[in-house]
């Protein structure tokens, strides 16, 4: 039984690490096809990572430990979060530690590491990107927390596996006003956290409009590979979390090999579907003016707050 639990944890980490570039490639391919372009195929991000890993490592003159540690820290925090968050199974040896606040803090730690690295380069773009990223992050992290709180109130715990398994047993709760508000808030927060349109444009080459990319402009070679892989893993992780929280069907709640296999297949299907929906939405959206981003994020925070309030009162009535 314990073996299955460890396999589930390893499976989650592997799924996120291996699946992240594939998800990004898949989203780009969906977008390319919708825009009438051929697209390079879903394997392109993996080819990019392989190419970058083979290059010699170069660090700019004058950068310190913050710059060098950030890529590893980004990937490491995401790997730990991927091990904790219930993507395949709610019953793993580490599920007792998978507290919501821990997971959000791990994600914030990765963001912070990159922002410090951006400042460490001492370039105008690094500083500008770090400043913008921190502005966005300060609005996003509370929303991430609050929107999941809305679900933790009925479950009576902030332990994410417990929230997911209680939701899996009472799916009607997800269709409640609180659940729907929380989905909307969390979705917007994830868009902002992963630097997607309408907040940031991951495919732009225009330095001056960048948020995430501006921070990491000075990275090259294997470090850049880690930064890109880290960013892709965060997207995969957060989409996986979104699907576990709001569509928990199929997730393994007990230790069995069959349940784990089903959970893996369903996770892949759900994340790919979410990715396709996101890519399709990005085709129809445009990037909002930078000064509108706080309005958008304040809106999502408000939704999360409403979700918590609704969840609290509905729970109290019941």
């Amino acid at each position: 039984m314990n073996a299955i639990g460890y396999v589930a944890v390893a499976g989650q980490v592997m799924a996120v690490v291996i699946g992240a570039p594939l998800l990004t490639g898949w989203m780009r391919q969906v977008r390319a096809r919708l825009e009438g372009r051929a697209g390079p195929g879903p394997l392109q991000p993996w080819r990019d990572v392989r190419k970058l890993l083979r290059k010699e490592p170069i660090t700019p003159v004058g950068t310190g430990p913050a710059f060098r540690a950030a890529p590893a820290l980004l990937v490491a925090t995401t790997v730990v979060a991927a091990a904790l968050v219930p993507l395949l199974s709610t019953d793993t040896p580490v599920s007792a530690h998978a507290d919501l606040i821990v997971v959000v803090a791990l994600i914030a730690l990765g963001t912070l590491a990159l922002a410090l690295a951006g400042l460490d380069t001492g370039t105008a773009f690094g500083g500008m990107g770090a400043s913008r990223e921190m502005t966005v992050a300060s609005l996003v992290e509370p929303t991430l927390l609050l929107s999941v709180f809305a679900l933790s109130i009925p479950a009576g715990t902030t332990n994410i596996p417990a929230i997911v398994s209680s939701a899996a047993h009472a799916p009607a709760r997800l269709a409640s006003p609180a659940g729907l508000l929380a989905i909307a808030a969390l979705a917007v927060a994830i868009l902002a956290e992963t630097g997607r349109i309408p907040v940031d444009n991951p495919s732009t080459h225009l330095e001056l409009t960048m948020i995430h990319e501006a921070m990491v402009l000075e990275y090259a070679g294997p470090d850049l590979a880690l930064v890109e892989l880290g960013a892709q893993m965060r997207l995969t992780l957060l989409l996986g979390l979104l699907s576990s929280l709001f569509a928990p069907w199929g997730i393994a709640t007990s230790a069995s090999w069959a349940a784990l296999a089903v959970a893996l297949a369903l996770l892949a299907a759900k994340v790919l579907l979410l990715g396709a929906v996101l890519a399709a939405a990005e085709v129809f959206w445009a990037k909002v003016r930078l000064f509108r981003v706080p309005e958008l994020l304040a809106g999502s925070f408000l939704l999360a707050l409403l979700a918590v309030t609704a969840s609290y009162f509905l729970n109290g009535a019941a």
Binding site: L206, E207, L290
Partner: protein
């Protein structure tokens, strides 16, 4: 049509003031090295009716000095700086006596356009740092961008002084791609000058080639048949269309709405293929020749209509998208007075309420009633988008109209390349000159040509509208936020190559 006045340096400011207040605009200033003297030509234009006035000033080659016109006309001040860098002619009392064209590593006292300049010398010591004006104050920081950019953009250095995200000041430093085109023209035959003119700014092959040909034809007294003139107008409008379509798409792309860009580039590709059918070259090179035009076919009207509908759908979708429209609206406003004072041209000027268009002011053929000049007064990115969208409509209508009148001539084989101008120069005749004024897609192109006694090019001075429009970009960007710069830059879409020459 073109009047020439030889005047002295002391009379110059008075006469220029008179011309400018009389509705003329400064089109170009060009210096010339004659055998024993330096000569500066000031070309002023007005229209309609098409009026061109030239002022010629002779300078002492040992002490080449001029009274500056900078207080009277902003573009004149820039021409004077260009002239000082290339010829060593000193504008006395110029308010900004810094280098403009010659970067600081070029040795002091070496003037590339001087007859004895020789081959370019090795780079010298930097003559001090570039005098960027530093903005001081709490929280002000600088963002240096370029000259090497992340995308496929020409080289230019931008220095932003920013507080928070708001641009306080922008300095654009250009002339990284100064290729010495004016020098390269010297001594070429008329035919050999044409490929160079087509390459002054790669996206304006027709505009620059046409301005060059009009100037050469005036200098040689060549008459161009009426149908060739109409064929030239057709090519000019085709060039406007494919450039405008590409830029409208890229404006949407810069607002993060990539699908409209994908479709705009699809339409542009159709237009480029059409261009190849018409002239044998996707960017319409070779379509305009001295003395005529060379068309292989004329565009099919039904195809043009389909393309026009496609473009209209794309612009409607862009303007109907609330986020895209919000990004365009009120972004980087260039006020009418500013545009007027800077001497803006083309769609930049027409989006700020100025109506100047060389097709009306200096027509080389009759455009009929189809020519409609769209003007907006907003001065923001939206206004520039709307002007260009409307210009595409006008251009396609003109192309359609011109195609219909040209079809019959094509069947007769009339629009073949005409013989190059053949008037042999009279012995001892010298200083034959001509001026070409063309509304290229960016704005009015002015080219002035002087021929030597043997019929080769003695001096060619092309002026791309970008030279006039570049200073407007920093003015429009004051109080705009940094992330809106790429959008603004694209809405101006100025040529680096055409400016740097």
């Amino acid at each position: 049509m073109r009047t020439t006045e030889a005047i002295s340096t002391t009379e110059l400011p008075c006469r220029v003031k008179e011309l400018l207040t009389g509705g003329h605009r400064l089109a170009l200033i060009a210096a010339h090295h004659d055998e024993h003297a330096l000569r500066v030509v000031y070309l002023f234009t007005a229209g309609p009716p098409d009026t061109r006035t030239e002022l010629h000033i002779h300078l002492d080659p040992d002490r080449p000095e001029l009274p500056t016109l900078a207080p009277l006309s902003f573009p004149a001040g820039r021409f004077e700086r260009e002239m000082r860098d290339l010829f060593g002619i000193v504008p006395q009392g110029h308010p900004l006596p810094h280098r403009l064209v010659r970067h600081f590593h070029w040795p002091r006292g070496w003037y590339p356009m001087h007859p004895d300049a020789g081959t370019p010398p090795p780079f010298g010591e930097q003559e001090g740092p570039y005098p960027f004006l530093e903005v001081e104050g709490h929280g002000v920081y600088e963002i240096p961008v370029g000259p090497v950019h992340a995308g496929l953009i020409e080289p230019g250095h931008f220095r932003f002084s920013v507080v928070g995200e708001t641009i306080l000041r922008l300095k654009a430093r250009l002339w990284f791609v100064h290729k010495g085109i004016e020098k390269l023209f010297q001594g070429r035959t008329i035919a050999a000058g044409l490929p160079l003119a087509e390459r002054i700014s790669g996206d304006t092959a027709v505009g620059h080639a046409l301005a060059y040909c009009l100037a050469v034809e005036e200098a040689t007294g060549t008459e161009v048949p009426d149908e060739a003139r109409r064929a030239r107008a057709l090519l000019l409008e085709l060039e406007r269309t494919h450039n405008h379509v590409a830029d409208l798409g890229m404006l949407c792309n810069d607002a993060g709405h990539a699908i409209l860009n994908a479709h705009a580039q699809r339409v542009r590709e159709q237009l480029l293929r059409l261009n190849r059918e018409i002239t044998g070259h996707r960017l319409l090179r070779g379509g305009i020749v001295p003395g005529g035009a060379a068309l292989r076919s004329v565009p099919d009207v039904r195809r043009l209509k389909a393309i026009g509908d496609d473009i209209r759908e794309i612009t409607d979708l862009a303007l109907g998208h609330s986020t895209v429209r919000d990004r365009f609206t009120g972004t980087a406003v260039l006020k009418t007075e500013a545009a007027q004072e800077i001497g803006c041209l083309g769609y930049v000027a027409r989006a700020s309420g100025l109506t100047h268009d060389a097709r009306v002011a200096h027509p080389f053929t009759d455009h009929g009633t189809q020519l409609d000049i769209p003007v907006h007064t907003g001065g923001d990115v939206l206004a520039r988008f709307l002007v260009r969208a409307a210009e595409i409509d006008t251009s396609l209508t003109l192309v359609e109209h011109l195609s219909l009148t040209l079809v019959e001539h094509l069947a007769d084989g009339l629009i073949a390349p005409c013989a190059a101008p053949a008037r042999s120069p009279a012995p001892g005749e010298r200083g034959r000159s001509g001026v070409g004024l063309v509304e290229g897609w960016r704005g009015t192109i002015a080219t002035r040509v002087e021929l030597a006694a043997d019929g080769t090019l003695a001096r060619v001075k092309p002026v791309d509208p970008s030279f006039f429009n570049w200073p407007a970009l920093p003015v429009a960007l004051a109080d705009t936020i940094v992330p809106d710069f790429p959008l603004t830059n694209k809405s101006f879409n100025l040529s680096y190559a055409g400016n740097d020459l």
